[in-house]
C-alpha cells in the first residue's frame, strides 16, 4: 500500500487525524464529517489510523523493569542530600554566609507581597528560587573555571544556543563558572560571577525582540537587573547592592 499524491494533498487530512485522536470539538467534528462523506482520501485515512492503532496498542509499552526501578530509586535516594559533587573548599568557604542568608530568604518568600505583573512576577520568582538553590552547597556551577574559553565551549552541545561568556576580573567581577538551569520551561545558561564575598548569577537565553536598557527590580531581598541585547535576554540576580549589580550590568555590556 503506498500513499498517492492526492492523499498527501487533502487539506482536511490532519483534521481527520485530530478527530481520531480526540482533539476536535463538536463543531469541528461536524464540519469534518460533512467533508468526509464525499472525500475518499479522508475515508481511507481514517482506516489507516485505526490500523496503526490496532498494531501498536498493548504490545509495545516498556514499563520500567523491577530491578531497574530498584536501582534507580536507590541512586535517587543517594543523590538526595546533595545532587551534585561538592565544591572545592575555596568556594565552600565563600558561600557559608550566603547559605544561611539564603535559607532565611526562602522562608521570607512565603510572606512576601507581589508587586509585579503576574508574568514577570513568576519569572522573577523562578530566577530568585534558582539563585537560592544554586547557593546551596554543591549546586553553584556545573563547570568551575575562571577561563571564559573553558566555560563557553562547555555549553556547546548542552544548550540549543551559544551564550556569550565574558571575563570581568578587571572590573572586580571574576568569572567563577557556569551551569545549566531551567526557567519558564526552557533550558538557560547561568554564568556565575563573584563580587567580594557575594555571588552574582547571570542568566541568559535567546529572544527574538531587539534590545532593552538595564532595568532593575527587587524580590525577597535579592536585586535583579534585566536587559536584552544581541538577540539574548539577560537577568542578573544577586544579594549585592542594587548600585553594584547595576555596575556589573554596565561592565558586562561594555566588555568586548
Amino acid at each position: 500500500m503506498s500513499a498517492s499524491e492526492s492523499e498527501r494533498r487533502c487539506e482536511m487530512l490532519l483534521l481527520a487525524q485530530a478527530e481520531f485522536d480526540g482533539e476536535l470539538d463538536a463543531a469541528q467534528a461536524a464540519a469534518l464529517s460533512a467533508h468526509r462523506a464525499g472525500c475518499a482520501v479522508c475515508q481511507r485515512a481514517t482506516q489507516t489510523l485505526a490500523q496503526t492503532r490496532a498494531m501498536l496498542r498493548d504490545r509495545l509499552y516498556e514499563p520500567a523493569p523491577e530491578a531497574l526501578r530498584a536501582r534507580l530509586l536507590e541512586r535517587v535516594a543517594a543523590a538526595k542530600p546533595a545532587a551534585r559533587p561538592p565544591l572545592s573548599a575555596r568556594f565552600s568557604d565563600w558561600l557559608r554566609p550566603a547559605f544561611g542568608f539564603a535559607l532565611g530568604a526562602a522562608a521570607a518568600a512565603t510572606l512576601s507581597i507581589a508587586l509585579l505583573s503576574p508574568g514577570t512576577q513568576s519569572l522573577t520568582q523562578e530566577l530568585v528560587a534558582s539563585h537560592i538553590r544554586a547557593l546551596q552547597p554543591g549546586h553553584l556551577e556545573d563547570v568551575a573555571s575562571t577561563d571564559q574559553h573553558t566555560v563557553k565551549p562547555w555549553f556547546d552541545g548542552r544548550l540549543p544556543f551559544s551564550p556569550p561568556v565574558k571575563e570581568l576580573r578587571g572590573d572586580g567581577f571574576p568569572l567563577v563558572g557556569g551551569r545549566l538551569d531551567y526557567l519558564a520551561g526552557r533550558p538557560v545558561a547561568a554564568l556565575v560571577y563573584g563580587y567580594r564575598k557575594h555571588v552574582i548569577d547571570l542568566y541568559a537565553w535567546p529572544q527574538a525582540k531587539g534590545s532593552t536598557a538595564p532595568a532593575k527590580t527587587q524580590r525577597e531581598g535579592y536585586n535583579l537587573v534585566h536587559w536584552a541585547a544581541g538577540g539574548m535576554n539577560f537577568w542578573a540576580v544577586s544579594d549585592v547592592e542594587a548600585k553594584e549589580l547595576r555596575a556589573f550590568a554596565q561592565a558586562w555590556r561594555a566588555a568586548p
Partner: protein
C-alpha cells in the same frame, strides 16, 4: 502565591511517572543500557530542578527532561544513536520467551510474540522525530498540546509528524507482507 505552598514532593509528583519515563527512554535509545543511563541522568536532573518546577503537569515535565537527556546523549555520541538497531537479538529473545497469556495456546502465543517483535522493529526504524511523536501519542496517550510541550515543537508540526509516522508504519507493514 501558589509556588511555595506546594505540598507535592518529588516522590509523590515525579516518581509515579517512572514507567512513562522508561518507556520514552527505551524508545529513544538503542539498547537497554543506554536507556538506563538516560533515565538515571533525567531523574537526577529532575531531582535538582524539582524545587523550581511551577507547572501543573509533572509527567510532561519529566518526559521533557528525559527527551533532553536523550538528545544530549545523542550529541555527545555525534548522532550515532539516532537510528536504533531494530529488532536486536536481545529484543527478539525477550519477545520470544515471554510467558504466554493464560488463554493462549503455545503456538498462538509464539505467533503473537513474533508479531510484536516485527511491529517493534517497524517502529524502531522510524526517524527519531517521528518515533518519539508516535510513542508519546499511541503508547503514552498524550494530547497534542502535551506532545508539543515535551518535544518543544509547534502543534502543527506535531500533527504532521504524527501523520507521517503512521503512514510510514502502514506502508512498511504493507511492504513487509509482500516480501516475506
Amino acid at each position: 502565591m501558589p509556588a511555595f505552598a506546594r505540598n507535592d514532593t518529588f516522590e509523590t509528583a515525579v516518581l509515579p511517572h517512572l514507567d512513562a519515563a522508561h518507556n520514552l527512554a527505551r524508545w529513544l535509545m538503542r539498547d537497554a543500557a543506554a536507556a538506563e543511563d538516560v533515565l538515571q541522568e533525567a531523574l537526577l536532573r529532575s531531582l535538582t530542578y524539582f524545587p523550581s518546577f511551577r507547572g501543573v503537569n509533572p509527567r510532561a515535565w519529566l518526559l521533557q527532561i528525559v527527551r533532553n537527556s536523550a538528545y544530549d546523549s545523542f550529541n555527545l555520541n555525534r548522532g550515532v544513536e539516532l537510528v536504533p538497531l531494530a529488532g536486536s537479538p536481545a529484543d527478539a529473545e525477550a519477545g520470544a520467551i515471554e510467558l504466554p497469556d493464560e488463554a493462549d495456546d503455545p503456538e498462538e502465543s509464539l505467533i503473537k510474540a513474533r508479531d510484536r517483535c516485527w511491529v517493534r522493529s517497524l517502529v524502531a526504524e522510524l526517524p527519531v522525530e517521528l518515533r518519539e511523536t508516535l510513542v508519546l501519542r499511541e503508547l503514552e496517550e498524550l494530547s497534542y498540546k502535551e506532545i508539543s510541550e515535551v518535544t518543544q515543537t509547534p502543534i502543527g508540526t506535531v500533527m504532521s509528524r504524527l501523520w507521517r509516522a503512521r503512514r510510514r508504519l502502514i506502508e512498511a507493514a504493507g511492504e513487509a507482507e509482500r516480501t516475506p
